[in-house]
């Protein structure tokens, strides 16, 4: 079946603009995660959605970052007033359930460049 998809694959924006990144998880997966990966670095957790529960936003770096998940499926990560340090690859992952032993399946990522 289809894996996790993300769009756009690449995004170039000017400092101060808002951007929206989209994630389509694997059908039937109740858990959805957003991560950020800067050049040459490991992944940094941003936010986690599980079913209809309130999301875990503990990884969001500032209030310019927000995310929503509509209908328990598609998720959008929004970055307002982008800064150059926001440049990174933004990765989305989904898993069947919330337990750690549930494998997280990652999408290809969105490469964001803020000029």
């Amino acid at each position: 079946g289809a894996g996790v998809s993300q769009s756009p694959s690449n995004k170039v924006t000017e400092k101060g603009k808002d951007v929206e990144l989209r994630c389509d998880p694997i059908s039937g997966h109740t858990a959805l995660y957003w991560y950020r990966q800067s050049l040459g670095q490991g992944l940094e957790f941003l936010i986690y959605f599980q079913g209809n529960s309130a999301p875990d936003k503990s990884g969001l770096p500032s209030d310019r970052f927000s995310a929503e998940r509509t209908g328990g499926s598609v998720s959008t990560l929004t970055i307002q007033r982008t800064q150059q340090e926001d440049s990174a690859v933004y990765l989305c992952a989904s898993s069947l359930g919330p337990a750690r032993e549930e494998t997280q399946y990652f999408g290809p990522g969105t490469r964001l460049l803020v000029l």
Binding site: G42, Y48, S58, P98, R100, Q104, F106, G109
Partner: protein, 111 residues
């Protein structure tokens, strides 16, 4: 979350067995050990997960000693396509699903 330490990089040749060791001295009772693989321009991909002793799947083996303070990912007969970054993660099985990736180990397989 337990901190992990891995070698920054390793080099190998095609057909060799590669063993990547990860140290996690502060591993907790409920923690599982998971390894991911990441190719350039792709998201990480799950390889293997274990709690203790040895786990084997079609891709790799994971060796975990009795004290669980380290683990070794073993890749049999690597090929050029195994060139990637390998991440070791340790975390609670039931709480905190946020994966915390370290810098990982860059494995370069040469012909």
């Amino acid at each position: 979350l337990a901190k992990t330490t891995q070698p920054i990089s390793m080099d190998s040749y095609e057909g060799q067995e590669v063993n990547i060791t990860c140290s996690h001295n502060n591993i907790a009772t409920n923690d599982y050990i998971t390894w991911y693989q990441q190719f350039p321009s792709q998201g990480p991909r799950f390889i293997i997960q274990g709690y203790k002793t040895k786990v084997t799947n079609e891709v790799a083996s994971l060796f975990i000693p009795a004290d669980r303070k380290s683990s070794t990912l073993s890749l049999p007969r690597v090929s050029l396509s195994d060139t990637a970054v390998y991440y070791c993660l340790v975390g609670d099985r039931y709480y905190g699903n946020k994966l915390v990736f370290g810098a990982g180990t860059i494995l370069r397989v040469k012909s």
